[in-house]
Assembly symmetry: C2
Homo-oligomer: 368 residues x 2
């Protein structure tokens, strides 16, 4: 189908960095934006109400997981993902490709698609570009991803083959889309090879997607390699459409990604770290299991405005961790997600006020 227009308004620019507004059927996204991950239609340990309270605007859900359980048909029957998980704001779904290709021995790729075994029960399934779009249309997210193949970043032969297949599949995804109320993003691949990334960005940019994702990064390559690839790709991707760096991540990567023109990020890091007792702050991570916190009446971060930091001491949080109480994961998740949301809010403001470089330098002085 002809891709409908999903408007992306650029508000301010500084170098490659941009502040914008991406308009979706479930609300406007102020970019740069960070999406917490709700793999199985829930951001782990946090209610939608708590997510709203900390100012989350976009949530990512995983097509592979929801396809296996509870199934896309069930989600559609319940009115789609927004209704099912009670998140009335924008949602992004990935294509399922990354999870399927991570299954290693349990999947077989051909030009048409991928046959794989479920990690839950070993049953056999098949994803094609058409199937991925069909599932994502049933889920009904505001932003969908084209089905792509993520290669080993240092294997040039495989990276090239995966990239070409990704391009062919991107075209098929465009053809398969029938719902006009979902933005479809094409995905750039090409490993750590500048010429492949360049070719991929040109090819995908020429297909007329509503936005562009940068895949196959943060999968084992070095930071300088990732940043170099971002520079290659973002010089080519059109400025009037949002750019999404998939699966990234750390505060440092957000700062460096925004500096290089990325608008959208997602990562499991804040919620996964929370379940392992690690609190993220803009001065570095804190392991709340550490005995040094046992008698500490201070919050995780005295400068933080989240519910956890407004209310609870490190001593209490450490007690919850030691006592293996579920509330620990909830309170630390609230704090960690808030920290990344606050980081991108600050970044946006800095871009608007033309002081991104100084702000970034201040953030990056700490080991994050």
């Amino acid at each position: 189908m002809t891709e409908p227009a999903f408007l992306f308004d650029l508000i301010a620019r500084q170098g490659m960095a941009r502040a914008g507004v991406f308009h979706t059927p479930h609300g406007d996204l102020m970019t740069p934006v960070f999406a917490p991950v709700g793999t199985q239609a829930t951001v782990k340990a946090v209610t939608p109400q708590q997510l709203e309270e900390i100012g989350a605007s976009l949530v990512l859900a995983n097509t592979y997981h929801l396809y296996l359980r509870p199934g896309a048909e069930l989600v559609a029957e319940m009115g789609g993902l927004h209704c099912f998980m009670q998140w009335p704001h924008p949602i992004l779904t990935d294509s399922g490709g990354f999870q399927v290709f991570s299954l290693a021995d349990m999947r077989k790729i051909d030009e048409d698609g991928v046959t794989f075994k479920s990690h839950i029960d070993g049953s056999t399934h098949r994803f094609t570009p058409e199937k991925s779009i069909d599932i994502q249309q049933k889920l009904g997210a505001d932003i969908m991803m084209a089905f792509d193949e993520c290669a080993e970043p240092y294997d040039r032969t495989y990276s090239e083959r995966a990239m070409l297949r990704t391009h062919a599949w991107a075209e098929r995804c465009k053809q398969a889309q029938t719902r006009p109320d979902q933005a479809l993003f094409g995905i750039v691949q090409g490993g750590v090879f500048a010429d492949l990334r360049q070719y991929s960005a040109q090819t995908i940019a020429g297909m007329g997607f509503s936005g562009h994702a940068i895949g196959g990064l943060s999968v084992g390559e070095t930071k300088p390699e990732m940043y170099a690839m971002l520079e290659v790709v973002n010089c080519i991707l059109p400025e009037n459409k949002p750019r999404y760096l998939m699966g990234v991540g750390t505060p440092q990567d957000l700062v460096e990604g925004i500096r290089r023109g990325v608008d959208i990020f997602d990562c499991v890091l804040p919620t996964r770290l929370a379940r392992h007792q690690a609190a993220m702050t803009l001065n570095g991570r804190i392991n709340l299991l550490n005995a040094v916190h046992a008698h500490d009446p201070r919050p995780i971060d005295e400068a933080c405005g989240c519910y956890t930091c407004r209310k609870f001491s490190r001593a209490y949080l450490r007690h919850l961790v030691v006592a293996k109480e579920m509330l620990a994961a909830t309170l630390i998740s609230i704090h960690n997600v808030y920290t990344l949301l606050e980081l991108v809010r600050q970044a946006r403001q800095a871009i608007i006020e033309g002081r991104y470089g100084a702000w970034a330098e201040k953030i990056l002085q700490h080991e994050l």
Copy 2:
């Protein structure tokens, strides 16, 4: 010390059932009241904010658990339990006795107290009446319990011995109390033996406590035996002080307890059931793991006003349960606690309006 006055105003009576207001330093309790249990200074899987939103007024915390971890000194250092767990409303602590006597082979009782081994690391500890009060004063709850011995309910010899020890310990607890801002409750024991219960109620009632607890019930005896003991005890306990039935419980027991003059209840049931996928409703329990809920767009209870029922379908909750997501325990806990709070709210209103019998009959028509 001389027990300060903690006022208990009776608003309405119907037969033995009463509606009242118990005034505590952290707010008024509208009785009958149900206290969710926060064993380790957290009602499992629920934030204080969520507890406030569902209208909880009183939370119980366990002296034994908090003494072992994180320690009463630490809680005191952090400003007491209200501050530590960020629950600014009334808190009740038990005496630690019930947990210690449940340790079976790991404890040894003498007239002066109990020596026991920690369930966490096997280390040896000793509770006496004075020690229990010392710990509870450090925790700083609004309502404290005298240190009591809970016997096997059908063992007459042991029940009598434990009762006599409980009376001696009650007197020592009164003597040990130094903080005037905590209400101390004496505990009636006596197993399933009416004459022992009568003697215990008379003895404890004569000691001038701010309120009275009924211990050693819901520990293996039959329902008719429990109800009979309540009738014996509550005819003796003075009307102008609140009565607390410890560790109870089910909707049916709340209805029957209130009918027999009980004002305060606590139980782990709503949160424990929630972690085992069981939702409580006034029409009976629902096992959310059951496949029958997979496609059900209805909430747990269409008549319920809790966050979970206002927002989420049984289909979504079942998905969370099947996918082993922590949010399941949170959302079902919110619902279950709300259900019991709503039950006692309804009971109170029925007493005030003089229609408790008809209301109770309606509630008890279901298997609860």
